[in-house]
């Protein structure tokens, strides 16, 4: 398989992750495009070792972190909600979480927890792969997952279980 074919095969997965990170379809495609351009340029000088897809994810994550950082420093906020294509949200059924509620909860997660949780859940990568992509130790992956899941439980008010309701 040619290098460009390998990259192409990863594009749907990159887009999915980028959409979840940016919550804005256009912005997600900008991010993926930048990632692909860098990968193609970088290839001319240094050949990546290991699977191409993990390497692409690593580039994408670093680009995303850079852009978050610059936004913070400018004190600007891009309107996440305004441009996000609203997913068709079915009425919450018994035992399921309302998607709108989950969407809002996700937005309130710290960046590091969100990037970790989404990578694991949406892309189905192993914890070792996630650690390599995010450039963090595997123990940090696990602690971020733990904190993310606990935070989502609080943020979605999923204290439907009687024992949790009393906490409020």
């Amino acid at each position: 398989m040619d290098f460009l074919d390998e990259i192409e095969a990863s594009v749907p997965a990159l887009r999915r992750y980028a959409r979840a990170l940016t919550r804005n379809a256009d912005r997600a495609d900008d991010l993926v495009q930048d990632c692909l351009e860098r990968a193609i340029r970088k290839r001319g000088l240094f050949r990546p070792t290991g699977p191409v897809q993990g390497w692409l994810f690593r580039i994408l994550v670093n680009l995303w972190r850079n852009s978050l950082r610059s936004e913070r420093r400018r004190g600007e906020h891009v309107g996440y909600d305004t441009l996000l294509v609203e997913p068709s949200i079915p009425a919450p059924q018994h035992g399921r979480l309302a998607l709108g509620e989950m969407n809002r909860a996700l937005e309130r997660l710290p960046d590091d927890q969100r990037e970790t949780l989404l990578l694991v859940v949406l892309e189905g990568v192993s914890y070792e792969e996630a650690a390599a992509i995010l450039g963090i130790p595997i123990g940090t992956v696990m602690s971020r997952l733990s904190r993310a899941r606990a935070a989502l439980r609080t943020l979605t008010g999923s204290g439907d279980e009687p024992k949790l309701r009393s906490v409020k």
Binding site: R19, D29, D112, L118, G124, L145
Partner: protein
């Protein structure tokens, strides 16, 4: 089932929810959960969280990839034509980084890769000093022996300035700078500056190796500056410049070759 399975850990529970366990181990987790309704309720909630996230961000159809995300079209396109949202954002980072000085670190992030901070510092230092005329370097190339021994001592690695004469670049000199690996760890960095007949300048930013870091390579482009970063078990090196693509690659390759092939500090300036 084995009578005494390995204890179920928190990590097992996450892996169970994320479907990363073998069927045998997953069955052990289920048995364990069946005796702990409180924990089972929490795990069920985690599963519902996963379902909700998957529903919010469904897989992307491969057939509907726009042209601008097709690698073959991107590879065929001349670079530098478009400036998208992302590139403008990166440019803003550099401008801000320059404003806050070379000790700029990435504090908002939990644990950014050390290379991020080093590349940012190298780019910042480049942007700052290439504009200088009389004070571009602390020690000029005319005092080469002193430059080499001083920077080698401070960085604690033998630093032999690469010979870029075949590429048309002469050593201007060098200076000592702070290098921020991360919030806790700081160290010295050596910056070497080169210049060609057209007054294009390239800088090479060298630090001692990051502990426990394996060989790494990274390319990034910030504002109009290209940065090639690599690390091995002895040093990290970031080459920064704004040359045409082919020339930048040639220079970066030459520097990489010389610094990695002769890490013992022997004279590499033979051509």
């Amino acid at each position: 089932m084995t009578p005494n399975p390995a204890p179920i850990t928190e990590d097992d529970l996450h892996a169970y929810v994320d479907r990363l366990l073998s069927p045998a181990r997953a069955a052990e987790v289920e048995t364990w959960l069946s005796q702990r309704p409180d924990k089972a309720a929490e795990i069920a909630l985690w599963q519902r969280q996963n379902e909700a996230l998957t529903a919010l961000f469904p897989p992307v159809t491969p057939e509907l990839i726009p042209d601008r995300l097709k690698p073959r079209q991107l590879a065929a396109r001349p670079r530098g034509v478009t400036l998208n949202w992302q590139q403008m954002a990166v440019a803003a980072v550099v401008i801000l980084a320059i404003g806050t000085g070379a000790g700029w670190t990435l504090r908002e992030l939990d644990h950014p890769p050390e290379s991020d901070g080093l590349i940012a510092a190298a780019v910042t230092a480049h942007a700052l000093y290439v504009k200088e005329n009389r004070h571009a370097v602390e020690v000029a190339a005319t005092d080469r022996d002193h430059l080499v021994s001083w920077l080698s001592n401070r960085v604690a690695r033998p630093i032999t300035p690469p010979d870029l004469a075949p590429e048309g670049f002469d050593l201007v000199g060098g200076r000592l700078l702070p290098a921020a690996y991360d919030e806790e760890e700081n160290g010295p960095a050596a910056q070497l500056m080169y210049q060609n007949a057209a007054n294009d300048r390239v800088t090479v930013y060298i630090t001692a190796a990051i502990p426990n870091e394996k060989n790494a390579y990274e390319f990034s482009s910030r504002e109009n500056l290209d940065a090639f970063y690599w690390s091995n078990d002895r040093i990290t090196c970031t080459v920064v410049g704004s040359l045409p693509d082919a020339e930048m690659k040639a220079v970066a390759k030459k520097i990489y070759t010389q610094l990695t092939w002769r890490p013992d500090g022997t004279d590499s300036a033979k051509s």
